[in-house]
Structures are given as structure tokens and as C-alpha cells.
Symmetry: C2
Subunit: 441 residues, 2 copies
């Protein structure tokens, strides 16, 4: 495909540099101000190359559409998305639908979203016995165990405390489990990787409440218990509770949604979602862990020697290309923006590289500022698809030196059947027909 | 009120420094890590002082609530808030309800929210003839006028372009207009100041599309027109369009909500909301402004000499305390966190000061990081209310040297009747009975 002169009367233009195989272009190409300052390319040149998607017209007189001819709808107390977007929904996974409809998960449709914040209505869910219908005027949080003075907090009392707000991702330990199967599942990016979401959380530092109760020097762990019908509980090292743990009350500005723990949840930044106990009703300071169901028979990692590794809280460095991704369709050769999300439970993402030739060559993607610790980061790189086959991959690195590895490296770490902490590089195959599928490399 | 020894057996503790009159405490007091590192105060000391709101208990055995005894609700494709929060709604203002139900506004309930992101369902609305019901497969954006090649973009085509994501506030030029009245209105903080909201917006740099069309050197302005039944339009200086203007497609991760311009809107960071034309269907490059209805008879500022000032796009530096605020009730003397929002259309907030004694003394509030340009910023400062009368105020400053002024200074700038660009200091009066009211100072 010729990259110049495809439009009649077009000026001669500078083209953006190719930075890796199979059409990857310089990440700075479309950062208008930056590109100009750096003299990388002219914006005009780049824009003209995109024009394949816009329509040049001779007589610019747009027809008046029907919705300009009638008064629109009036105001609403609380809004919702357009009816034309009602296919943008979570994918629901109920493995025991008849027996236990409230056990399972629902995944964020990552491939239908953009930016980094997940709208609260599409935040992933993971419930062990459904969403409890909690009356906040009756709910209480108890802090007890190895403390000097046991304390009981009403929700109203919690709202009196000093608050903090932070943007954090939350990822289920089982996220991406479909890719642990022997054959690559043909599902959307969201259905595979959508057990991760990102919100602005506001709440009270857990340390304030624990230190108010006064921790006995023998206390080393905290058992967090939910007020759901599973009485879900997890054991958390006290050190994390006194570091950056939050007793969250608000999500994206408003009170927590029921599915994310209304009216109060624990939030452990960067750690597997299951440990951030929702509908929090009890924090018990103890000498050791509880060895509960969700940290023995579940949420443990099957190792090659047949043993299971326990208390692997921190989520690994990870990234996934959301656009283009499986199930979406290419619209013919030409310009595309490759875009996706990266995150690390250990800290800040420092670099995301993208390959269009199955990892033979890599180019650095642009990271959307501000790049926050333990938060989703949007990455982008321009791509000129030549219409041939392509294998798209992304690879993230964090400020602790972790680099996302291949699927072969990931599977070698575990025994067959492990479904937790999957963080291998995702490969999307683009066919000459423009179909996008999930492949293992 | 004694600040020590109010609990039996309590240790002697360091108390946080008072930093201004009438009970304002050091902003670093509850930043646990920071406070410790700086040696300002012990966290234990601070926490103990808060204990008035928690309940010390002798026998820590919480009752099992009813919602733990039945399976919870199953999964949903798209979530919504708890039924217990259904009073958290926008305040609807329809001045011509019978004649034109779609003309008016609805305000974000700032006093019921926390953090900085506004949930999209509670983003303020301002419509001139209702919300059009736009089919995205039929909607088009035309760029024409003084351009080399007029271009028509389908929504699908726009989604092919390079994107950017930014967190920006959006504020109606008429925000806080109730406070322009001669007597202070007794309304909630949201009903007075809630024509401001903040979202993560994702879209295409407007510069890319305009430069693709090729701007004629005679072009200096751009007329932006909406596809609503008012055909709302505004004239924008070309310079802004080529600077940081965005053709927005997503709001807080998902497609724009209908009330905020679905499927495509203009977004002019820091400028009065009216100019960020929603349901965008046309950008016409021109030599001069259109002098349309919304930039002549409306959205102009009445000056003391009887003239009206036009094209005052940039929103001023501003802040408001959201907690506590009018209509909320104090729960007796003791610890409170004073918290609010600050923003500036000119750039970054650098400082917010709070006074509890009607401006006689001021203390610096903590700003929630990251402090982003042209975005809402959450500020916080601890306060020990002694139960006496208090007059609470906040005052913001930005990185361009602007400082928020008093109401007297603001009114002196304009003629009576001006309702645009109100950005004076808000005063909340706390009575000894714990009632909070709106007062002018």
C-alpha cells in the first residue's frame, strides 16, 4: 500500500517513522504538541495519512437529522447510558447457575471501554453467595481480637473519620483464567481479561482505626470477614493493613455500589481482589492466619511439584491490548491506534512495548499521564496495518524491575490446572480478512 | 472541652497542633505515614481523640445480620447504586417547566459525594431544548468553512483516530448563580454550586481533525453546532481548538452519556461549559464569531457601566467546602474533617486555605494528589469543633497567580443581575445547635 499521494492534490508530506516490524509507528506521532516540538513529523502529514476513514465532500451542507426537529428528553435525577450502547455489558460467569446463582463472576467489557476509569456499573464482580442487601443504618464494623480496646463502628461513625482518595485497580486472582486452558478460548478481551477494573476509591486509612483500637504486640495478622451469606473471610498480614490499606466508603465519587461492597469494604492496593473483603463487618487481630476456605482450597497456586503455594497476594505485572482484540473486526488496511491497559500490583508501570510481528521486534508505546502506582495505565501506539497477517502483543514492565513474560514461561511456573495469577503476554492474531482471534505463542 | 483524658485509662498523648483559629488542626495530622515521618504527632494520639464517634465495647460478638442468612442477589450486566442511596440525585431546575421542560439544568449533589470523579449518572446537565435521541450510525460530524477540503466523519470513522484521555472539570458559566441573589438562598451545596462535575474524558485531539481538513490562513474562529432541537452553537477562537480541545467520545471509561453529548461532543478544558458543545455535528472555520444567541443575549457578563462583556471563556479560580455544608447537620462537638473541591480554568490549583473564624485566620488544607490541571482537586483539613458558632470558608489559588476573592469583590466587578462566572468565597455558618446555613460575608 502506497503511503503517499493516495488523495488527489495532496501535498508532499513527511511520514511518521516506522519503529518496529509490520507497521508500528513512532508513539509520539500523534501527540500533537510534543510531535511538533520534537520535530518528529508534521501533524498535517500524519493527519492526511489517516484520511482513509473520513469522507471528503464537495457540498458541505449536512441534512437536518430527525432528532433536531423535536424537543429532546427532559432532565433525570440519575442518568444511564444511551440505549444504543445497551450491548456494553459485563459478561456473566455462573458455573453453578442452578445450585448457586450468586456464586461466580462478571467481567468488565474492556474491549468496549476506553481511558482508565471503569464506570462503576461495569466494574467486575466476584461473589461467593450473591450480593447482600445491606441496610447501612444497621451495618457495623467490629475491630477486636488482639487489641487494647475492641471498637464497634457504625457506618455513620466511619464517615466522621479523616479520608483519603486514590485511583487503584482491583484484579481478581483468577483473572484471565480462560487462557490457562490447553486451547486458546475464542472469547472477547473482556470475557478473558475483564476481572480487572479501576476506580477512584475514597475511604479511611485502615491504620487509623486499628491504631485507635490499639494493637497488642502479639498481633501479626488481621482476619477480615464479610457480611455476605458466604461469610467470606481472608487473613491479611498486619503490615499491609498498617501500610496502604483503606476502609473504602466511596467508589468513583459516590457511595460504593452493592456489588463492590456497599456500605463498607476493605481495599488492599495491588493485592488479589479476593483479599479486599467486601461488605466488611469484622477485623480481628490475631497471631496467625485463619487458614480459611478461600486461602486453602481456593486462591492458592498449584505448583509443578504438586504442592500449593499460599498467600501470594501481590498481582503480577501485566498488560493487554484492548483495541484491536478478539471479536472486533478490522475495517481494511490503513491506520489504526493500538491501545490497551497495563498494571502492576507492585507499583508503577514504567514501560509498555508492543509487537506486531509475534515478538520479533518491539516498539515502546506512549503511556497516558498521570501514571499512578497500582492503577490501570492506558498505553497507545499508532499502527499502519498493511492488510497482511499480524500477531499483536504487549509487554509491560514496572518500577520494581518486573517484566511481563510469555505464556510458556508462565505455564512452566505452575502445575496444570492452576488458574490464579495468570499474567502472561496475550497474543491477538489479525487475519488478512480482518478477523481477530486469540492464539497462544 | 478538654482535649485529653476523656476516656478512662487513656495514655497521655501528643495532640495535633492548632494552626488557625476556632479549632483548625494541622493538615498533615492524619496523613499517617507523612505525619510519622515528619514527627508532627503520633497517629495513636490523633486516633484516640476521634474516638468519640466509635463505640468501645466490652463483649466483641457481633450479631449475625439478616442479610447473612439468605443468599444474595445474582449478577447484573450493568449495575446501579444501592436502594438506600436513592436520595443521592441531581437537583433539577426547570424555570419554564410547562413551556419548555427540556430547558434548564440539573446540579450534581456535591455534598453527597466524595473524591474528585463525578459518577456519570450524577454529572450536571444543562440543556436548551432537551436531550436529543441520537442514533450513532446516522450521526455525522462536518468540518467545513475556511478549510482546504471539507470533511464528513461518521462516528465509526472518529473511533479510528488517535485518542487521548484527560481528567477535566466542566463548569457551567452560570454555576453558583443562586448566590448572586440579594439574600443568601438556603439550599444544599450541590443545588448552589453543583453545575460543576469532573470526568475522565477520552477522545480525539480537535487539532488532528482540523489540520486534516487544512485550515485556510484567513480562518480565526470555529463555529461549533449541536445536533439538538435548539441547534445550540458557539464561536470558539481557533487558537483554543488547536491547543487542548478534544472531540470527546468517552466519559469515565464508557461512551458519553446522552446528557453529556452522546455520541460526540466538543470539550474545551477550563472554559465555560456552554462552549463545549454537546451532540457535536458541525465545526465551521470562519474569519469571525457568529454572534449567536448564546454569546449575545446569554452567556455574557453584565458590567457596572451597563455594557455586557462577551467571550469570557475561562472559568475563574474557585473552591467550596462540601463537608460540612448547608443542610447537613453536625453531630455534636468533636472531630470533623472539613473537605471540599477546588478548581481553576487557568491551570493547576496550588493552594487552598480554610478559615473557621470568618476569614480572621487561615490554615492551609491538604490537596489530594495527583493535582491535575483544569481538574477538580479534593482538599481536606482536620477540625475540632468546640460547639460554638463558626463561619467556615475556603479560598483557592492557582499557578497563574489567581486567588479566589470575597463576595463583595465579586459583586463590585459586575452589574446587579449578572449570574455568570460567580466564583466568590462561600461562607457556611455553623450554629451551636449544629445547623449549617448559607451566609454572605
Amino acid at each position: 500500500m502506497s503511503r503517499e499521494g493516495k488523495r488527489k492534490g495532496k501535498e508532499a508530506i513527511l511520514m511518521p517513522p516506522r519503529v518496529a516490524g509490520n507497521g508500528l509507528l513512532d508513539r509520539r506521532a500523534f501527540l500533537t504538541g510534543i510531535a511538533k516540538a520534537a520535530g518528529v513529523v508534521t501533524v498535517a502529514g500524519l493527519s492526511s495519512d489517516i484520511l482513509a476513514t473520513a469522507q471528503a465532500i464537495e457540498t458541505p451542507s449536512p441534512a437536518v437529522p430527525p432528532w433536531m426537529k423535536v424537543p429532546g428528553k427532559p432532565f433525570r435525577g440519575y442518568g444511564s447510558p444511551s440505549k444504543y450502547e445497551d450491548q456494553v455489558k459485563r459478561t456473566i460467569f455462573q458455573p453453578y447457575k442452578e445450585l448457586a446463582p450468586g456464586a461466580g463472576a462478571s467481567m468488565t467489557p474492556l474491549h468496549q471501554l476506553h481511558g482508565t476509569i471503569t464506570p462503576s456499573g461495569l466494574h467486575f464482580e466476584r461473589h461467593h453467595n450473591g450480593v447482600p442487601d445491606i441496610d447501612p443504618s444497621q451495618h457495623q464494623l467490629l475491630i477486636h481480637g488482639l487489641v487494647k480496646r475492641p471498637l464497634m463502628f457504625s457506618v455513620e461513625a466511619l464517615h466522621r473519620y479523616p479520608t483519603m482518595s486514590r485511583v487503584y485497580f482491583l484484579e481478581c486472582s483468577g483473572n484471565s483464567f480462560p487462557n490457562a486452558a490447553a486451547e486458546p478460548p475464542q472469547m472477547s478481551c473482556g470475557a478473558i481479561h475483564g476481572l480487572v477494573s479501576c476506580s477512584e476509591w475514597t475511604g479511611v486509612p485502615a491504620a487509623l482505626l486499628l491504631e485507635e483500637a490499639g494493637i497488642d504486640p502479639k498481633g501479626k495478622w488481621v482476619i477480615a470477614e464479610a457480611a455476605d451469606a458466604a461469610a467470606m473471610n481472608r487473613s491479611i498480614p498486619l503490615e499491609k493493613m498498617l501500610d496502604d490499606a483503606m476502609i473504602a466508603l466511596y467508589q468513583n465519587g459516590e457511595h460504593l455500589r452493592p456489588e463492590q461492597g456497599y456500605p463498607v469494604r476493605l481495599l488492599l492496593p495491588g493485592w488479589e481482589g479476593n483479599a479486599s473483603v467486601k461488605w466488611l463487618r469484622r477485623l480481628e487481630v490475631t497471631e496467625g492466619p485463619a487458614y480459611s476456605r478461600e486461602e486453602t482450597s481456593k486462591y492458592t497456586d498449584l505448583m509443578p511439584d504438586g504442592k500449593a503455594r499460599q498467600f501470594t497476594f501481590v498481582m503480577g505485572v501485566k498488560s493487554v491490548i484492548t483495541h484491536p482484540s478478539a471479536g472486533l473486526h478490522m475495517q481494511g488496511p490503513g491506520f489504526y491506534e493500538i491501545s490497551g491497559l497495563a498494571w502492576s500490583g507492585s507499583g508503577r508501570i514504567t514501560r509498555v512495548e508492543v509487537s506486531a510481528d509475534s515478538g520479533k521486534s518491539w516498539a515502546e508505546a506512549a503511556l497516558q499521564e498521570p501514571v499512578l502506582s497500582k492503577s490501570l495505565v492506558r498505553f497507545r501506539i499508532p499502527w499502519e496495518w498493511n492488510g497482511g497477517p499480524a500477531l499483536l502483543q504487549s509487554r509491560a514492565a514496572d518500577d520494581k524491575g518486573h517484566v511481563q513474560g510469555t505464556r510458556a514461561l508462565w505455564t512452566a511456573q505452575y502445575s496444570t490446572g492452576n488458574v490464579y495469577h495468570y499474567n502472561a503476554i496475550q497474543t491477538w492474531r489479525v487475519s488478512p480478512e480482518g478477523e481477530i482471534t486469540n492464539v497462544y505463542l
